[in-house]
Symmetry: D3
Subunit: 235 residues, 6 copies
């Protein structure tokens, strides 16, 4: 029934290659099917001004898409500024990752996660969160190895997956052909069995409470699998 | 337990005054406690270019806050552009309202809903959606009265309410003192017993599946009450 | 002869309601006929950098119009920045109010007057100045009551009124139907029998010295009436 | 009493050199003392869209200042956009010149007047208007010579001069040392014995009705002299 | 003598992998040592308006750098617009590639080359030109295979290499450690034994005519090698 | 053969008038044929932040064109920001002039060179560099006369000239009719017999190594003549 022939509860193949770029303190290339996102973590000893002398760390994120990551070429955002959509996504990534960070243990420093979509096929923001956590963890490991951070501020992984109602059926991990048809879809972000953020939207449609329950179940299953892959990548 | 002394399932007092401005085709001032939002509906016979000759209508929304709607004065957005937050909110309002519109019945015209916060005390985007629907309905009624629209494109009201976990307890309709303390909060948008959109976010925290269930229950109750008030306002 | 049936020297009905918003240190809603402007005063202990350690206070103003304050909807300025017209108006309001302030008595603090047009029917900048002074005075009264300001920096009210030549006849306080027809019109700002600012412009027309004299007479009469209403509002 | 030793009713030396640039349809360099403004007129066969097929012409103006036209170097406006002051000035120049144009006689074409201040010593906007009219007239003469315009759309010259109260005394044509000290000053624009625009402003001061009368007298005298120089320049 | 131990006339290892992204009509990843640039070619049937109905094709380029392509993180250009440097580089890439295109043979269509630097170690604009030509050629091959272009518009490859004076010695293909020390450096772009563009600049230094001759010799040798690698990549 | 009748190695008539504006520390109007550029030098005691406490001086440049400096009117850059071309030119002027400055001898101060094109006929950036050096030298002379600079930081003049291939023939100092036809052209910047910068570009064309040699010869001759005129101007 799904264009890809996947079962309703089946994610795309996921792989995470680490240390893919030379300069960043942490980096990975995450592939969720044909969605490929390059994630880098950059450590900065300065924190935003509202955290000066607070002893607390900060994690923030930025998101971009190469102009030809998509089927037809998009306008380069450097030309007329980040769209509202881009800003919304990067704030989401930052919030999601911060929810899994012990900011006292991190200490007064900032880590910026850059998520750049090299190739898009649906679910880029979820891949960015899942890969972003890996880049973040690798940078933090470097800080711990150098003795700059003592207690691990990143105990459990943060991952995200999309779910939606496609052809009337709740399905896990929508690819672009599904995403562009689905009237209802959303993103679920979780850590260690707990929810961090849910964004369910229906463009010109509605969904019932029981459909919502099925989507929550599908998401829970997908996230568990992603957490396993994340742990392997940073091992 | 709540700063306002409300029960966990108790909304603030809600009132909706209609026809509060002279020029707009539909207008109302919605008050949810100390949150006051002026909503106007403006009819335009031109639709966005992607809908030209489609026979379909469009509903869009814009959102703003007067600089001193808040406790301390905010910078005027006209000075350096809409923030990402503002853009995110106005896209949400537009999507929410469109989910309750029969765009074929509306016909090829656009209605713009302007939601301007005169005074803020938490929950401005929910008040904007709830009041925005009233302004929209009044404008549509005018079109129907003039015979320009035959079949009512707005059968059921769309309303929104916030819920969150305050002091460890799920509560309905957070005011600003609660909102600024709550680690977890979100917005629920519904029409006729069905969900349109859910946005649950935890800034630096997490929530369980069973807490999510309680929040969905609280939201359902609040929305029912809002639908009643909306129906009275447009009667 | 005038569309409203008013005499040439007759202003529209003017009312000023104070304390209309909860957060601002001073606020009022001024109505000059169908022109309604919400004015708030916000006190800030920091002054612009050119006044640091000068002992002098500052009063500044910002002006905006809700998109549907007008007959047909205008573009929201937050979307592409303040127009030259808006900037010109807000500089005028600031200059006008400062002319009536003893900045030594005010002390080194800044008061920002926000003037937001809820509904427009001509003469919005004049209403903004007249209402802005009331909001300013209320904020200053609060500072005096708290003992932060000793000697009253606002002895005489500042008010503004428009005059113009409509259908060949000098008239006082133009409403929108008159304003859009008048080839010559202007704004007169006065305090305590003295002039602060005059802006007379003729779009594609001219006027004689004796017409100018009549306009000055009309303005003087209108301003006297406005001063009386202002004094009542702040009493 | 005046820093320059001039009488209160004495203008600075004024000269207008024409045809100072090769490409423009009309051009002049106006010198009012040490204020030097290069004015060019550019003819365009397209009019703004609101005038398409109206048969009416349009005159518009733009204003700029070279960064080192002033005593200390100013930021280049090309770097961060035209200031509100610049926009206000160029709208003033455009309005002033249009008041002296028979737009039917001009026919459906646009003339843009660029006024660029090469050296500033007070009164740049007045010099721009006075010189701008000369550039405009020269361009129109070219159109008439070519038979493209039959009846002269520019019968009487438009000129502008500043007046103000310096050291308690009404004076004509303020230079920079006077302008920076004067509490009250303004600009008077006239054609053929009639007023086009008056802008009197008092920064932190006020002025009486009788002072206003004296300023109107001074301006009238100065403008007469400017009209004479303009007529000579275009002869 | 060179930090990398290379001879003065020795380029870094160069590799070009093609078809590295799924959506673009042509793509490659070029590696010049540690400088890695992803180049994609996007075909558009519309040409810029100045070429409408001319029968001529157009090739244009855009350039970007991922924020952490560099040693320390750079600000994302989507946040505040393309720098002058970025605009200068992308205009250079476009001009260089157009010099090698028979625009009549290409036909009235536009090909946009996006060059995004994944990792930077000096010489990114040269790598972008060299890789950009490969992406362009692959896209053109697709057009020829589809019979949309008959005669090959890209007979000879266009490549670029940097040269400079490092430690007093003319050297070929500067890496970042050399580039940041060299007082004199430049870029040479060639096709088929002919020069297309030379940009030699000396920041705070100078160079002699005979040094210029040596640099031209070094560049010629490097370009020949790059042309060979380009031909292999597109074979 | 050349439209102007000049020999291939003949420059246009060049004149440099100094002290043409009252406020700037150094100024000149350079005329290269019909290309007229006003150059001013402004001394500022503050240096850019990266030079604070370095003891080194800085020279920077800005470039602009009056809207009607060209054959048909261009859009004013103050309206929508400096084009990439403008930014590229002003960076070039700054780099070129810095190459001729002993920044230790200059001491920790900044000199800004503003180059504003009053009338354009090709070669404006070369005229700006050549005239910019004169303005810079005059400002430095003032510093030396005041004893603020002891050892001359500007021993040899910096000048620039364009060369190109017009009608198949290498020619010196292209005017606009040549420049708009030439497939290959460039700018050569020199001081004291040494090269500072070369920019040769071929829009849609190529050039041989031997043509490059001829262009270098032509440029050398032209620069020698310009140096002579510069020395006379500042004498």
């Amino acid at each position: 029934m799904r264009p890809s022939g996947r079962r309703t509860d089946q994610m795309r193949d996921v792989s995470i290659d680490t240390a893919v770029t030379r300069h960043a303190e942490g980096s990975c290339l995450i592939r969720m099917g044909d969605t490929h996102v390059l994630c880098t973590a950059s450590i900065d000893n300065r924190v935003p001004s509202f955290l000066k002398n607070s002893g607390l760390g900060w994690v923030t994120a930025e998101y971009g898409m190469l102009p030809r990551a998509t089927h037809s070429r998009m306008r380069r955002e450097a030309k007329d500024g980040q769209s509202g959509r881009t800003q919304e996504i990067q704030r989401l990534i930052g919030r999601a990752l911060r929810a899994g960070v012990d900011r006292v243990a991190l200490g007064e420093r900032q880590i910026t996660i850059d998520c750049d979509v090299i190739q898009a096929d649906g679910g880029t923001r979820c891949a960015a969160i899942t890969g972003g956590w890996v880049a973040l963890k690798l940078a933090v490991n470097k800080l711990m190895k150098a003795g700059l951070v003592i207690s691990d501020p990143l105990v459990d992984p943060v991952a995200a997956v999309s779910c939606g109602i496609y052809a009337g059926q709740p399905v896990l991990d929508l690819d672009y052909p599904e995403d562009s048809e689905a009237g209802v879809d959303g993103n679920f972000i979780m850590t260690a069995g707990k929810l961090i953020e849910i964004q369910m939207a229906a463009e010109g449609a509605t969904f019932s409470r029981s459909q919502m329950d099925t989507l929550l179940d599908l998401a829970g299953g997908g996230i568990e699998e992603l957490h396993r892959i994340q742990r392997e990548a940073v091992a």
